[in-house]
């Protein structure tokens, strides 16, 4: 294994799960997210000399995965609206048995751009400037998207007050 391959393998090992979580949270489809991230990592492998010098290679992978989703959609033109209840929700209320249904449903109710901002901030730990650069939007827009997303998620995910506390 040459130096490039070793470097990529190390990167893949360290970044793959976070990239998958970020894309999964953005697109809402576990299997599609896996396919997109795999394709993005393959492109990173093919362009590793360039990607390895990127200030945030994980962000490059996620951005590539999201762009790939758009190009796949343009090619196939058969995207369907995200369902209220994701198709692969299992009987125990989790998605693929691992993600809480309430959580993913709340995320899917956010506008796509807000989901992407949350995903990059949460799973890749990008700051505002890096998130803005990755998504090609202004830093102020990132801040606004994040604030709105948090407000919406708080409404969706905060536990309802129990009857005793209301009385």
């Amino acid at each position: 294994m040459d130096t490039d391959s070793a470097g990529f393998a190390e990167f893949y090992q360290a970044a793959r799960d976070d990239c998958l979580r970020a894309v999964f949270a953005s697109v809402g489809d576990r299997q599609a997210a896996e396919d997109l991230v795999a394709e993005a990592f393959a492109r990173a492998w093919a362009n590793w000399r360039k990607v390895s010098r990127h200030p945030a290679p994980s962000a490059w992978v996620v951005r590539t995965a999201l762009n790939t989703r758009v190009s796949w959609w343009r090619r196939t033109r058969r995207e369907v609206p995200l369902p209220e209840r994701p198709a692969d929700v299992t009987g125990d209320g989790s998605l693929d048995g691992v993600v809480d249904r309430t959580l993913i449903t709340a995320l899917l109710r956010l506008p796509a751009r807000q989901r992407q901002v949350v995903a990059l901030r949460l799973f890749l730990d990008l700051d505002t400037a890096a998130t803005a650069e990755t998504l090609g939007i202004a830093p102020g827009t990132v801040t606004a998207h994040l604030a709105r997303a948090i407000a919406t998620l708080r409404e969706e995910l905060s536990p309802a007050p129990c009857e005793e506390s209301r009385q």
Partner: protein, 214 residues
């Protein structure tokens, strides 16, 4: 619930999500992408080499006459007079052709050049078609850039009493029914047209008469 708590809850909710695709599968796909990219580069390089080769062919054609003594350039065409008496003409657009013909006449080239019609003027007699014009009187660049006409004319080789008629045909030439020259001496046929010297260039030698000049 404060912001930090909320975001931690979301982050923790996704913690069990793990990538199942192996690094080997990723690398295999990466190799495939790299091969495809290199193939595309090679193809593009080959196309560029062909294009350069074609361009060099034309350049060589025009460069056979050592050193362009004078050059006239309009947006539509460029005329270069070489020291050996040849004239190179590059036509980029089918306009300002009367000016080009006047320049050629001023340089002693008995040439008519137009994009008007295959038919000869009434009473004009065609002497020879392009298939019989391979004596160096006029050469044309094969592989010339698309949409351009490149010709090198040697006025001294145009027989006395005759005029080289150059007809520029825009776009690909489509075989047509026979076109009969007025006067009936020579008929230019459609299909594999003998007079079609190069894509879009039709050459004929006609009598240097007032009838042919109209």
């Amino acid at each position: 619930m404060n912001d930090e708590h909320l975001l931690t809850m979301v982050r923790d909710g996704f913690a069990p999500v793990r990538m199942t695709t192996s690094a080997t599968v990723i690398a295999d796909r990466g190799r495939s992408l790299r091969r495809r990219r290199r193939g595309a580069r090679l193809a593009a390089g080959g196309a560029l080499a062909l294009a350069l080769g074609a361009g060099l062919g034309v350049s060589a054609l025009t460069a056979r006459a050592p050193g362009a003594a004078q050059q006239v350039t309009l947006a539509a065409w460029t005329l270069s007079r070489h020291s050996d008496g040849s004239i190179a003409v590059t036509i980029r657009e089918l306009r300002d052709l009367p000016e080009l013909q006047a320049r050629l006449a001023a340089d002693g080239a008995r040439v008519t050049i137009s994009d008007a019609s295959l038919s000869l003027p009434h009473g004009c007699v065609a002497v020879r078609s392009a298939s019989q014009l391979q004596n160096g009187m006029v050469r044309y660049g094969s592989g010339q850039p698309a949409g351009r006409y490149v010709l090198v004319i040697r006025p001294s080789l145009i027989p006395g009493g005759q005029v080289l008629r150059i007809l520029l045909i825009p776009g690909p030439f489509k075989p047509t029914p026979p076109v009969t020259a007025h006067g009936g001496t020579v008929t230019v046929h459609g299909g594999p047209v003998t007079g079609l010297a190069a894509p879009g260039v039709f050459l004929t030698l006609v009598s240097d008469t007032a009838r042919c000049a109209s």
